[in-house]
Symmetry: C2
Protein backbone atom coordinates (compact mmCIF):
# COMPACT_ATOMS: atom_id res chain seq x y z
CA UNK A 1 0.00 0.00 0.00
CA UNK A 2 3.00 2.30 0.45
CA UNK A 3 3.38 2.51 -3.33
CA UNK A 4 -0.19 3.77 -3.62
CA UNK A 5 0.74 6.75 -1.45
CA UNK A 6 4.19 7.39 -2.94
CA UNK A 7 4.44 7.78 -5.96
CA UNK A 8 0.60 7.57 -5.75
CA UNK A 9 -2.14 5.15 -6.77
CA UNK A 10 -2.62 6.58 -10.24
CA UNK A 11 1.12 6.58 -11.02
CA UNK A 12 2.23 3.20 -9.74
CA UNK A 13 2.26 0.29 -12.21
CA UNK A 14 1.43 -3.36 -11.66
CA UNK A 15 5.09 -4.18 -12.45
CA UNK A 16 6.22 -1.94 -9.58
CA UNK A 17 3.72 -3.42 -7.13
CA UNK A 18 4.73 -6.94 -8.13
CA UNK A 19 8.44 -6.11 -7.77
CA UNK A 20 7.91 -4.67 -4.29
CA UNK A 21 6.07 -7.83 -3.26
CA UNK A 22 8.76 -10.04 -4.81
CA UNK A 23 6.38 -11.39 -7.45
CA UNK A 24 6.55 -11.55 -11.22
CA UNK A 25 3.92 -9.64 -13.19
CA UNK A 26 2.51 -13.00 -14.25
CA UNK A 27 2.17 -14.25 -10.67
CA UNK A 28 0.56 -10.94 -9.68
CA UNK A 29 -2.19 -11.49 -12.24
CA UNK A 30 -2.71 -15.02 -10.99
CA UNK A 31 -3.82 -13.48 -7.68
CA UNK A 32 -5.30 -10.14 -8.72
CA UNK A 33 -7.33 -9.28 -11.82
CA UNK A 34 -6.08 -5.67 -11.78
CA UNK A 35 -4.24 -3.22 -9.53
CA UNK A 36 -7.44 -2.18 -7.78
CA UNK A 37 -7.96 -5.72 -6.49
CA UNK A 38 -4.85 -5.55 -4.29
CA UNK A 39 -6.70 -3.23 -1.92
CA UNK A 40 -9.62 -5.64 -1.65
CA UNK A 41 -7.63 -8.70 -0.80
CA UNK A 42 -9.50 -10.51 1.97
CA UNK A 43 -12.99 -9.68 0.71
CA UNK A 44 -13.73 -13.31 -0.11
CA UNK A 45 -12.68 -14.29 3.41
CA UNK A 46 -14.94 -11.60 4.86
CA UNK A 47 -17.90 -12.87 2.81
CA UNK A 48 -17.32 -16.44 4.01
CA UNK A 49 -16.98 -15.25 7.62
CA UNK A 50 -20.27 -13.33 7.50
CA UNK A 51 -22.10 -16.18 5.74
CA UNK A 52 -20.85 -18.64 8.39
CA UNK A 53 -21.96 -16.26 11.13
CA UNK A 54 -25.44 -16.00 9.61
CA UNK A 55 -25.71 -19.80 9.29
CA UNK A 56 -24.46 -20.33 12.85
CA UNK A 57 -27.26 -18.30 14.48
CA UNK A 58 -29.61 -20.48 16.57
CA UNK A 59 -32.79 -21.69 14.84
CA UNK A 60 -35.61 -19.16 15.07
CA UNK A 61 -33.26 -16.18 15.15
CA UNK A 62 -34.93 -13.32 13.21
CA UNK A 63 -33.21 -12.51 9.90
CA UNK A 64 -31.95 -9.09 10.95
CA UNK A 65 -30.57 -10.43 14.23
CA UNK A 66 -28.64 -13.16 12.42
CA UNK A 67 -27.09 -10.55 10.11
CA UNK A 68 -26.43 -8.12 12.96
CA UNK A 69 -24.67 -10.80 15.02
CA UNK A 70 -22.45 -11.82 12.10
CA UNK A 71 -21.47 -8.21 11.32
CA UNK A 72 -20.85 -7.42 14.98
CA UNK A 73 -18.45 -10.39 15.04
CA UNK A 74 -16.55 -8.87 12.09
CA UNK A 75 -16.25 -5.57 13.97
CA UNK A 76 -15.15 -7.33 17.16
CA UNK A 77 -12.46 -9.30 15.35
CA UNK A 78 -11.21 -6.14 13.66
CA UNK A 79 -11.07 -4.34 17.00
CA UNK A 80 -8.94 -7.14 18.45
CA UNK A 81 -6.25 -6.66 15.81
CA UNK A 82 -4.26 -3.64 17.01
CA UNK A 83 -2.63 -3.00 13.62
CA UNK A 84 -5.93 -3.11 11.74
CA UNK A 85 -7.28 0.34 12.59
CA UNK A 86 -4.29 2.20 11.18
CA UNK A 87 -4.22 0.02 8.05
CA UNK A 88 -7.98 0.39 7.51
CA UNK A 89 -7.92 4.18 7.85
CA UNK A 90 -5.07 4.60 5.37
CA UNK A 91 -6.76 2.20 2.97
CA UNK A 92 -10.06 4.04 3.28
CA UNK A 93 -8.44 7.43 2.62
CA UNK A 94 -7.06 5.98 -0.62
CA UNK A 95 -10.43 4.54 -1.65
CA UNK A 96 -12.13 7.86 -0.99
CA UNK A 97 -9.62 9.67 -3.17
CA UNK A 98 -10.19 7.65 -6.37
CA UNK A 99 -13.57 7.14 -8.05
CA UNK A 100 -12.49 3.81 -9.55
CA UNK A 101 -11.58 2.51 -6.10
CA UNK A 102 -14.89 3.75 -4.67
CA UNK A 103 -16.72 1.85 -7.42
CA UNK A 104 -14.78 -1.33 -6.67
CA UNK A 105 -15.50 -0.92 -2.94
CA UNK A 106 -19.23 -0.60 -3.66
CA UNK A 107 -19.06 -3.72 -5.84
CA UNK A 108 -17.46 -5.60 -2.94
CA UNK A 109 -20.17 -4.42 -0.54
CA UNK A 110 -22.85 -5.50 -3.04
CA UNK A 111 -21.16 -8.88 -3.27
CA UNK A 112 -21.12 -9.11 0.54
CA UNK A 113 -24.85 -8.35 0.59
CA UNK A 114 -25.49 -11.08 -2.02
CA UNK A 115 -23.51 -13.65 -0.03
CA UNK A 116 -25.37 -12.63 3.13
CA UNK A 117 -28.74 -12.94 1.39
CA UNK A 118 -27.75 -16.39 0.09
CA UNK A 119 -26.88 -17.48 3.65
CA UNK A 120 -30.26 -16.21 4.89
CA UNK A 121 -32.07 -18.12 2.15
CA UNK A 122 -30.24 -21.26 3.28
CA UNK A 123 -31.76 -20.57 6.72
CA UNK A 124 -35.19 -20.59 5.08
CA UNK A 125 -35.72 -16.81 4.90
CA UNK A 126 -37.85 -16.02 1.82
CA UNK A 127 -37.26 -13.28 -0.74
CA UNK A 128 -37.44 -10.28 -0.69
CA UNK A 129 -36.91 -10.48 3.10
CA UNK A 130 -33.50 -12.15 2.71
CA UNK A 131 -32.18 -9.48 0.32
CA UNK A 132 -33.67 -6.67 2.39
CA UNK A 133 -32.15 -7.92 5.66
CA UNK A 134 -28.79 -8.41 3.94
CA UNK A 135 -28.86 -4.97 2.30
CA UNK A 136 -29.92 -3.35 5.57
CA UNK A 137 -27.13 -5.06 7.46
CA UNK A 138 -24.46 -4.16 4.92
CA UNK A 139 -25.73 -0.56 4.71
CA UNK A 140 -25.53 -0.28 8.50
CA UNK A 141 -22.05 -1.79 8.42
CA UNK A 142 -21.00 0.75 5.77
CA UNK A 143 -22.39 3.69 7.75
CA UNK A 144 -20.88 2.37 11.01
CA UNK A 145 -17.52 1.72 9.36
CA UNK A 146 -17.37 5.25 7.96
CA UNK A 147 -18.23 6.78 11.31
CA UNK A 148 -15.52 4.64 12.88
CA UNK A 149 -12.93 5.77 10.32
CA UNK A 150 -13.77 9.43 10.98
CA UNK A 151 -14.31 9.23 14.74
CA UNK A 152 -12.03 11.80 16.41
CA UNK A 153 -12.62 9.99 19.73
CA UNK A 154 -11.36 6.73 18.23
CA UNK A 155 -14.11 4.55 19.68
CA UNK A 156 -14.13 0.92 18.56
CA UNK A 157 -15.63 -0.31 15.32
CA UNK A 158 -17.92 -2.58 17.32
CA UNK A 159 -19.45 0.50 18.97
CA UNK A 160 -20.17 2.23 15.67
CA UNK A 161 -21.52 -0.85 13.90
CA UNK A 162 -23.83 -1.67 16.82
CA UNK A 163 -24.99 1.95 16.91
CA UNK A 164 -25.74 1.94 13.17
CA UNK A 165 -27.65 -1.34 13.37
CA UNK A 166 -29.72 -0.16 16.28
CA UNK A 167 -30.27 3.12 14.42
CA UNK A 168 -32.23 1.21 11.79
CA UNK A 169 -34.53 -0.21 14.40
CA UNK A 170 -35.04 3.22 15.94
CA UNK A 171 -36.02 4.70 12.58
CA UNK A 172 -38.68 2.06 12.01
CA UNK A 173 -40.02 2.30 15.55
CA UNK A 174 -40.19 6.11 15.25
CA UNK A 175 -42.26 5.60 12.14
CA UNK A 176 -44.57 3.12 13.85
CA UNK A 177 -44.97 5.41 16.87
CA UNK A 178 -45.82 8.43 14.70
CA UNK A 179 -48.04 6.73 12.17
CA UNK A 180 -49.29 3.72 14.05
CA UNK A 181 -48.27 1.69 11.02
CA UNK A 182 -45.24 0.20 9.32
CA UNK A 183 -43.44 2.21 6.67
CA UNK A 184 -45.47 0.92 3.76
CA UNK A 185 -48.11 3.63 4.19
CA UNK A 186 -46.16 6.87 3.89
CA UNK B 1 -28.70 1.68 -26.55
CA UNK B 2 -29.17 -0.38 -29.72
CA UNK B 3 -25.43 -0.20 -30.38
CA UNK B 4 -24.77 -1.74 -26.97
CA UNK B 5 -26.74 -4.79 -28.03
CA UNK B 6 -25.44 -5.02 -31.59
CA UNK B 7 -22.41 -5.10 -32.07
CA UNK B 8 -22.35 -5.24 -28.24
CA UNK B 9 -21.36 -2.98 -25.37
CA UNK B 10 -17.74 -4.09 -25.25
CA UNK B 11 -17.26 -3.72 -29.02
CA UNK B 12 -18.91 -0.39 -29.75
CA UNK B 13 -16.69 2.72 -29.66
CA UNK B 14 -17.49 6.20 -28.46
CA UNK B 15 -17.05 7.40 -32.06
CA UNK B 16 -19.78 5.01 -33.22
CA UNK B 17 -22.16 6.03 -30.43
CA UNK B 18 -21.55 9.71 -31.17
CA UNK B 19 -22.10 9.15 -34.90
CA UNK B 20 -25.41 7.36 -34.28
CA UNK B 21 -26.54 10.25 -32.09
CA UNK B 22 -25.38 12.80 -34.65
CA UNK B 23 -22.70 14.19 -32.35
CA UNK B 24 -18.99 14.69 -32.76
CA UNK B 25 -16.69 12.76 -30.44
CA UNK B 26 -15.83 16.06 -28.81
CA UNK B 27 -19.45 16.96 -28.11
CA UNK B 28 -20.05 13.45 -26.76
CA UNK B 29 -17.36 14.01 -24.14
CA UNK B 30 -18.85 17.35 -23.22
CA UNK B 31 -21.93 15.45 -22.04
CA UNK B 32 -20.51 12.09 -20.93
CA UNK B 33 -17.20 11.35 -19.21
CA UNK B 34 -17.03 7.88 -20.79
CA UNK B 35 -19.18 5.40 -22.68
CA UNK B 36 -20.59 3.92 -19.49
CA UNK B 37 -22.10 7.26 -18.56
CA UNK B 38 -24.53 7.18 -21.51
CA UNK B 39 -26.58 4.51 -19.75
CA UNK B 40 -26.84 6.61 -16.60
CA UNK B 41 -28.09 9.74 -18.25
CA UNK B 42 -30.88 11.09 -16.05
CA UNK B 43 -29.31 10.08 -12.74
CA UNK B 44 -28.75 13.70 -11.71
CA UNK B 45 -32.41 14.44 -12.45
CA UNK B 46 -33.45 11.42 -10.37
CA UNK B 47 -31.33 12.62 -7.44
CA UNK B 48 -32.85 16.10 -7.60
CA UNK B 49 -36.37 14.62 -7.82
CA UNK B 50 -35.84 12.43 -4.74
CA UNK B 51 -34.21 15.26 -2.76
CA UNK B 52 -37.14 17.55 -3.60
CA UNK B 53 -39.57 14.83 -2.54
CA UNK B 54 -37.80 14.42 0.79
CA UNK B 55 -37.79 18.19 1.40
CA UNK B 56 -41.46 18.50 0.44
CA UNK B 57 -42.70 16.10 3.14
CA UNK B 58 -44.78 17.86 5.83
CA UNK B 59 -42.92 18.95 8.99
CA UNK B 60 -42.73 16.17 11.55
CA UNK B 61 -42.72 13.40 8.94
CA UNK B 62 -40.43 10.61 10.20
CA UNK B 63 -37.20 10.27 8.19
CA UNK B 64 -38.05 6.89 6.69
CA UNK B 65 -41.52 8.03 5.67
CA UNK B 66 -40.09 11.08 3.88
CA UNK B 67 -37.69 8.84 1.95
CA UNK B 68 -40.37 6.22 1.25
CA UNK B 69 -42.77 8.84 -0.12
CA UNK B 70 -40.10 10.31 -2.41
CA UNK B 71 -39.10 6.90 -3.78
CA UNK B 72 -42.72 5.82 -4.23
CA UNK B 73 -43.20 8.97 -6.34
CA UNK B 74 -40.28 7.90 -8.57
CA UNK B 75 -41.86 4.48 -9.06
CA UNK B 76 -45.26 6.02 -9.76
CA UNK B 77 -43.84 8.39 -12.36
CA UNK B 78 -41.98 5.53 -14.02
CA UNK B 79 -45.16 3.44 -14.11
CA UNK B 80 -46.99 6.27 -15.88
CA UNK B 81 -44.50 6.29 -18.75
CA UNK B 82 -45.57 3.37 -20.93
CA UNK B 83 -42.27 3.19 -22.84
CA UNK B 84 -40.18 3.17 -19.66
CA UNK B 85 -40.62 -0.47 -18.60
CA UNK B 86 -39.27 -1.90 -21.84
CA UNK B 87 -36.37 0.56 -21.89
CA UNK B 88 -35.52 -0.09 -18.23
CA UNK B 89 -35.55 -3.87 -18.63
CA UNK B 90 -33.25 -3.79 -21.67
CA UNK B 91 -30.95 -1.35 -19.92
CA UNK B 92 -30.86 -3.49 -16.78
CA UNK B 93 -30.02 -6.65 -18.76
CA UNK B 94 -27.04 -4.79 -20.19
CA UNK B 95 -25.89 -3.57 -16.78
CA UNK B 96 -26.13 -7.07 -15.34
CA UNK B 97 -23.99 -8.44 -18.15
CA UNK B 98 -20.96 -6.18 -17.60
CA UNK B 99 -19.06 -5.83 -14.31
CA UNK B 100 -17.94 -2.28 -15.17
CA UNK B 101 -21.57 -1.24 -15.73
CA UNK B 102 -22.63 -2.88 -12.47
CA UNK B 103 -19.94 -0.90 -10.67
CA UNK B 104 -21.12 2.34 -12.24
CA UNK B 105 -24.73 1.52 -11.31
CA UNK B 106 -23.70 0.95 -7.68
CA UNK B 107 -21.83 4.26 -7.70
CA UNK B 108 -25.00 6.00 -8.93
CA UNK B 109 -27.08 4.35 -6.19
CA UNK B 110 -24.49 5.42 -3.59
CA UNK B 111 -24.69 8.95 -4.96
CA UNK B 112 -28.50 8.83 -4.74
CA UNK B 113 -28.20 7.73 -1.09
CA UNK B 114 -25.81 10.64 -0.38
CA UNK B 115 -28.16 13.16 -1.98
CA UNK B 116 -31.07 11.70 -0.01
CA UNK B 117 -29.13 11.87 3.27
CA UNK B 118 -28.20 15.50 2.53
CA UNK B 119 -31.89 16.33 1.99
CA UNK B 120 -32.77 14.65 5.30
CA UNK B 121 -30.08 16.64 7.12
CA UNK B 122 -31.62 19.80 5.65
CA UNK B 123 -34.86 18.66 7.31
CA UNK B 124 -33.00 18.53 10.63
CA UNK B 125 -32.43 14.77 10.78
CA UNK B 126 -29.17 14.08 12.63
CA UNK B 127 -26.42 11.66 11.60
CA UNK B 128 -26.19 8.68 11.53
CA UNK B 129 -30.01 8.56 11.25
CA UNK B 130 -30.01 10.55 7.99
CA UNK B 131 -27.50 8.24 6.27
CA UNK B 132 -29.21 5.12 7.62
CA UNK B 133 -32.67 6.18 6.45
CA UNK B 134 -31.25 7.13 3.04
CA UNK B 135 -29.31 3.86 2.68
CA UNK B 136 -32.35 1.85 3.79
CA UNK B 137 -34.58 3.62 1.28
CA UNK B 138 -32.16 3.21 -1.62
CA UNK B 139 -31.54 -0.45 -0.69
CA UNK B 140 -35.30 -1.06 -0.68
CA UNK B 141 -35.59 0.75 -4.01
CA UNK B 142 -32.81 -1.41 -5.47
CA UNK B 143 -34.42 -4.65 -4.23
CA UNK B 144 -37.88 -3.52 -5.39
CA UNK B 145 -36.54 -2.41 -8.77
CA UNK B 146 -34.86 -5.78 -9.35
CA UNK B 147 -37.98 -7.69 -8.42
CA UNK B 148 -39.92 -5.47 -10.80
CA UNK B 149 -37.47 -6.12 -13.67
CA UNK B 150 -37.74 -9.89 -13.12
CA UNK B 151 -41.45 -10.09 -12.33
CA UNK B 152 -43.06 -12.61 -14.72
CA UNK B 153 -46.46 -11.17 -13.74
CA UNK B 154 -45.35 -7.68 -14.78
CA UNK B 155 -46.81 -5.90 -11.77
CA UNK B 156 -46.01 -2.20 -11.47
CA UNK B 157 -42.77 -0.80 -10.08
CA UNK B 158 -44.78 1.05 -7.45
CA UNK B 159 -46.07 -2.27 -6.13
CA UNK B 160 -42.57 -3.76 -5.78
CA UNK B 161 -40.99 -0.65 -4.27
CA UNK B 162 -43.79 -0.31 -1.69
CA UNK B 163 -43.48 -4.01 -0.87
CA UNK B 164 -39.71 -3.72 -0.38
CA UNK B 165 -40.04 -0.64 1.83
CA UNK B 166 -42.68 -2.26 3.98
CA UNK B 167 -40.51 -5.41 4.10
CA UNK B 168 -37.90 -3.41 6.03
CA UNK B 169 -40.44 -2.45 8.64
CA UNK B 170 -41.66 -6.03 8.93
CA UNK B 171 -38.10 -7.27 9.54
CA UNK B 172 -37.57 -4.85 12.40
CA UNK B 173 -40.96 -5.51 13.94
CA UNK B 174 -40.34 -9.28 13.74
CA UNK B 175 -37.13 -8.68 15.64
CA UNK B 176 -38.84 -6.56 18.26
CA UNK B 177 -41.60 -9.12 18.68
CA UNK B 178 -39.16 -12.01 19.10
CA UNK B 179 -36.61 -10.30 21.29
CA UNK B 180 -38.64 -7.61 22.98
CA UNK B 181 -35.89 -5.21 21.97
CA UNK B 182 -34.57 -3.31 18.97
CA UNK B 183 -31.89 -4.88 16.81
CA UNK B 184 -28.95 -3.48 18.76
CA UNK B 185 -28.94 -6.45 21.14
CA UNK B 186 -28.49 -9.43 18.88
Amino acid sequence: MELYREPGYDKVTVAEIAARAGLTRRTFFRYFSDKREVLFFGTAKLEAFVAEGVLAAPPGTPALAAVATALAAVARQSDEDSAFADFARRRHALIRAYAELRERELAKLASLASATAAALRRRGVAEPAASLAAEAGVAAFKVGFERWVDDPRRRKMGHHVRQAISGFGTLVLEQVATRGTAIDKP
